[in-house]
Each structure stands twice: as C-alpha cells, then as structure tokens.
Symmetry: C2
Subunit: 214 residues, 2 copies
DNA sequence: GCAAACATACCAACTGGTCGGTATGCCGAC
DNA sequence: GTCGGCATACCGACCAGTTGGTATGTTTGC
C-alpha cells in the first residue's frame, strides 16, 4: 500500500527491527516463503530475540499488519490532499497522491496486508483479521470525503463505503497486475490502472444526475 | 479467475491429478505453503510420480498456471455472452457472466495465477511469466470486443488493451478484498466490486462524447 | 538484585529432491 | 504368436538441509 516512506526513523529495539524486516521481506517474498531465520538475519537479531518479542511467526505476521496499518495511516493523514475545499477534489487528490507514490520495483509500493491475506486467509484467522483491519481501515479514511462528494453531486446507486472499498480493490488489483511485469512496466501498469479509477470517479461525480444510473 | 467449472472430466493420469491438486491447494493455501507431500497426498499419488512428471516444484507451478490458463480460456470461449450483436453488450455480458460465477468460499472462485504471482514474482521468473501469460491471455480475450465498443461509441483517452487490463485489475483486486472477509461476505464483496466495474463501463460507453474526457 | 532484553545451542518435524526398483505396454524379430 | 528389448509410468525409502519453536544461559538498565 504505502511505498517509499521517507524520513522514517531508524528502528531501535529488536521488535521494531523485526517489524521493518517483516515489511521488507513479506513484500518481496511473501509471508510463507519468509522464514524466521531470514527475518532475524535481515533485522540483525537472533532467534532468541525473535521469540522473546513474538510468541510465534503468526504473531509477527499480525503485528506486522498492525505496524503497517499504523505507519500508512499516519502517512496518509499527513498528506496534503486533505486541504482541498471540494470533497471531490479531496478524493481525486487522494488518487493522485497514490499515483505519485508508484515507482521503482513493485516491492517498493505494494501492500503488506494485501500480500499476506492472499496467502494466509485460510490458514490463519488472526492474520486475515489483521489484514482486513489494515485494508478496510485505509478505506475508511476516505469514506467521509466520499460521502460528502456523493451528497454534493447527488450520486445514486452506491455508497461511500462501497466506493472506498473500490479504491482499495483497484489498488490491490493493480499490484497483482504489476507483479506479472518486469522492470519499469511494473510501475507503469499500476499507474495506468489507477488512472482508470480516477476516470471512473471523475465521471461519477461530474455527470448529470439522470445519467448516473444505467 | 474461474470458479466452479462443472462437467470437468475426472483426471486420469498422475500428472492431471497433480495439476488438479495444485489448483485446489494453491487457491486455498498459496504456493509456498503448499508442500510437495501435500500435493501428492491430495492427488493420491506418490512422490516418485511427482518427480517423474515434473523436474521440480517450480515446474509444477508453471504447469499449473498453464493448465489453469487453458481450462479457463476454454470455459470463457464457450460462454453465451459472445452472441450479442452489440460489442458493448458483449463486454457487459462478460462482466455479468463473471458476476454469476461468484459464490461460496473464496477458493471456489479466486484465481490461481493471481495468487501465485503475488508470492513468486521475485523468487521465480518462470512462474511470474506463466502467470502473466494466464492473466494477460484472459484480458486479451476481451480486447476485440472492447476495441469494437470503443470505436462504436467514440471513447477517447484509453485503449482496448488498457481497459482489458482494468477488467483483470478489478477482478484480482476483488479477490484480495474478498479474502479479508469471512463466510458469505467473501462473495458479496467480490460481487459489489464487479458492480463498480460494470458501472464504469456503462458510463464509459454510453455518455456523450464531449463528456468522456475530464 | 532483579526483571526485561537479548544470545546460544539445540530439537523434532518437515522440506524439496534423489535413487534404485518394479509393473505394464508396445515394438520388431523370429 | 511369443519373445527379448526398451520406454513410460509409477513406487517408496531415503537424504541433507531447513523449518518453527524451545530451553538455558548471559547481559543490561534501573
């Protein structure tokens, strides 16, 4: 979900270093394929430290999703698109902000929660729920602006919550498509797909009321 | 991608049984978390048979993506939505067809290629390419109808290939969102999201030409 | 001095993969 | 027609390495 988070303070405790390692390794190798030893190696920490802070690998997965959730929501809360007066501008501003974050290798802008839930939704309910909270929490942050936009433009036949989920759907889907590609095409295809989301919303919020419903 | 494929003949050879097992297990547990022993157990086949037919687990992954690709494309080629005279009806018919396929647990309608590429895009180029072929092949099957619809309705600012990719994006993204849910909500959220895709296309192909571009 | 934060050594279970062997069916030669 | 030769399909014990997890220390801050 979030890409290159600049000015992130370097983690100090072993716990933080492990969470950072989890974000990095899960993004590029997935949850199952990432071993506890790899995590410890990446974090520069021993296995004893790992199991001191987390009772199991699954617990690290849950904590990583929550850590991810917290750092991304703080990142987006501080973004500039909130300042627009028009709610439609805030919504489109969010999409443009996401668009600007896409670049470089996929593991730099993909989503930890989306990656983990794909693998663990059946084997670990705890991880599934933590990833749900992360993704739906990110969606919920847009809901107020979407509700205002819907009210202002008189959009019928959907809801702010449903549209917020659609934003996440297109974002997550664009990451999957991006992962099928190589090199610069990864970012290019992800940007292209967010462009369709932008166009959908532009049409939805600008069109005459009687043309909205099919 | 494809869900409940009815009337599929029961696999006979060990190879076919292993491919069927791979589709089932990868869909519910992912690629990395599925072991060769599990695959053999599910297929009712020994390890000797596995490595007789596939040189490695990775090769099975590639073969599974190709097998998946072949069976889904045959399934969609035989679907009834192709018979509509209007290309826009064919495109919307495809979406409605996909909508009708969504139901039951996620692993019954999710996509093997999308699941695998999320895990293996960095560790296995062969699997990545096989999944790309599967997903983009599915997209390509819609391209002609989309091109005709674009031409007929005078849509500007995009291409048939890009819109075809968007269909896959929303489908793959809806599967990710569905996997965050439990029980019947899985199918419900996936259907809701395909509904947005349908609405986007409805607007795109019906609106006056001068209103299309923002 | 004492608890939290780590480190080291270790374990049973499992991992993908190998290897010698067998059962079966198809081939032309006689 | 039946026999030897040979390829394909499959079996299951086995291997070295790795897995998540534990048990027992040691260090450090207060």
């Amino acid at each position: 979900m979030i890409p290159n988070r600049p000015f992130r303070p370097a983690p100090v405790t072993a716990r933080d270093k492990l969470l950072e390692a989890a974000v990095k390794l899960v993004r590029s190798n997935g949850y199952s394929a990432t071993s506890v030893d790899q995590l410890c190696g990446e974090a520069g920490v021993t296995k004893g430290a790992f199991f001191h802070h987390f009772p199991s690998k699954e617990a690290l997965g849950v904590a990583a999703a929550e850590y991810w959730s917290a750092s991304t929501s703080a990142f987006f809360a501080a973004a500039p698109y909130h300042h627009h007066a028009d709610p439609v501008d805030r919504v489109l501003g969010y999409i443009d902000f996401r668009l600007a974050l896409i670049g470089g290798p996929v593991e730099g802008f993909s989503c930890v929660a989306g990656t983990m839930v794909q693998e663990a939704f059946r084997s670990s309910a705890a991880i599934r729920v933590a990833c749900e909270a992360s993704i739906m929490g990110n969606a919920a942050a847009l809901e107020a602006d979407l509700a205002a936009a819907i009210a202002q433009r008189g959009v019928k036949g959907t809801s702010a919550a449903s549209l917020a989920r659609h934003v996440q759907t297109v974002i997550q889907g664009s990451f999957v498509l991006a992962k099928t590609q190589d090199g610069e095409m990864c970012a290019e295809i992800a940007r292209e797909q967010l462009g369709h989301l932008r166009r959908y919303f532009s049409m939805l919020f600008n069109v005459d009321e009687d043309r909205i419903l099919q």
